[in-house]
């Protein structure tokens, strides 16, 4: 894209956010903050984290679109922001999947299973060692 894009408004290089919009968005953000705290009283069970994150994403979207002007900006700036979040998601998704997938190898159940086999073998060998043919301790 070339450097002489038209300004969005007659005020110069960029759009001016109306004061009313700013206040409405602030009110919405306050509302959602109250909801965030209130929602902890509702027993969502395993979905509690998801609900909290959804509310946080809504608040973040409001901040990004209006306070950070993305709604009225060059669309490429939104591409940059969303692209960043996609890479964060990629990083978290792969790391999380992998760490939960290899956890069983360190959990006690699986470890104990492995241990039991070894331990039995050790006991057999210890028993063999204590038989009269050997040694000093």
């Amino acid at each position: 894209m070339s450097q002489h894009s038209q300004p969005d408004d007659d005020h110069g290089v960029a759009h001016v956010m109306p004061a009313k919009t700013l206040l409405i968005i602030f009110a919405l953000l306050m509302f959602f903050t109250v909801v965030t705290v209130a929602v902890t009283l509702v027993p969502f069970g395993p979905y509690a984290l998801l609900v909290a994150l959804v509310i946080a994403v809504i608040k973040a979207a409001l901040v990004a679109l209006y306070f950070m002007h993305l709604r009225y900006d060059n669309p490429f700036n939104s591409v940059v922001f969303v692209g960043c979040l996609i890479f964060v998601g990629l990083f978290l998704a792969f790391s999380l999947t992998d760490s939960t997938a290899y956890q069983p190898t360190v959990y006690k159940k699986q470890a104990a299973k492995i241990q039991q086999i070894d331990v039995n073998k050790l006991l057999e060998e210890a028993a063999k060692e204590q038989s009269p043919s050997t040694t000093n301790h």
């Binding site: 509690a48 006690k108 104990a112």
Partner: protein, 308 residues
Amino acid sequence: MSTIPNDYPSALPDPNAPHDEHDHPSFLAHHFESAQQQFDAGKLGIWLFLTTEILLFSGLFCAYAVYRANHPEVFEFAHLYLNKWWGATNTVVLIFSSLTMAWAVRAAQLGQKKLLVNLLAVTLLCGLAFMVIKTIEYKDKIHHGTLFSVFYKPVQLPHGVTAENLLGPADALTAPPAIDAPEVHTAPAGYAQQQSKIPLAAVGPAGLSPSFEPRASADGATSLDHENPWVGPEPRNVAVFFSIYFLMTGLHGIHVLAGMAVILWILIRSAKGEFGPHYYNPVDFVGLYWHVVDLVWIFLFPLLYLIH
């Protein structure tokens, strides 16, 4: 559109007009062809920088996610040490400061110098309030011994957890050795094979703690609620929660302080009258940084304070 104060030129220069060598506004750098180009370039630049900031925090969010997914009991227990009302207050403070910052950008665009200076000052005060509350919280943690890693030596139980809810270990495998205990080379008491020299992966040498569900309380009630937020023995490695807590809020706090320093600089420049409808780029870009600081906190608050 509000009134333009009379200390600004009545005809705004056209930001798209190419400049000559002789008619170069002082705010326009020489390698740019026009003010519009300079603004667009600066905006893209700050968005790229914010991308890097978000990715910097993403490492900590990843550590949080991995640890919470694999050891949810640590988070469910340890977060009870945090006071969610301080956290909520901080959230309100930061969102309000975002409002004043966004409004300050608007004031700069409209040439409302006095309003701009005042709004920046309020933003700065909000940042200060945030750091004061943070300091109160940190001091509280130091006082109660709930610090990170080897410094985790709590002097009291978290909110809502009573001594009778904290049952003793039902079997030796879940007995939590202290985090700086010497390496366990023999199986703990109660394990059948006394002669084993192989340390159990689950309990040592200080390996990852096993994950388990909090068990029923003494009188048979099995569900957790607000009166009984935790039933069961204290999980192992609670200190890691506090490591994550201090790392995330600490890095965030450093960014708040840096943001405050930059806002102060912008405040001084605004007071000197450097910004107006023709040039307000620094106010806009610093504002974007401040909003990202707010964004990170919007996620930190529920993730750290409001774990169910």
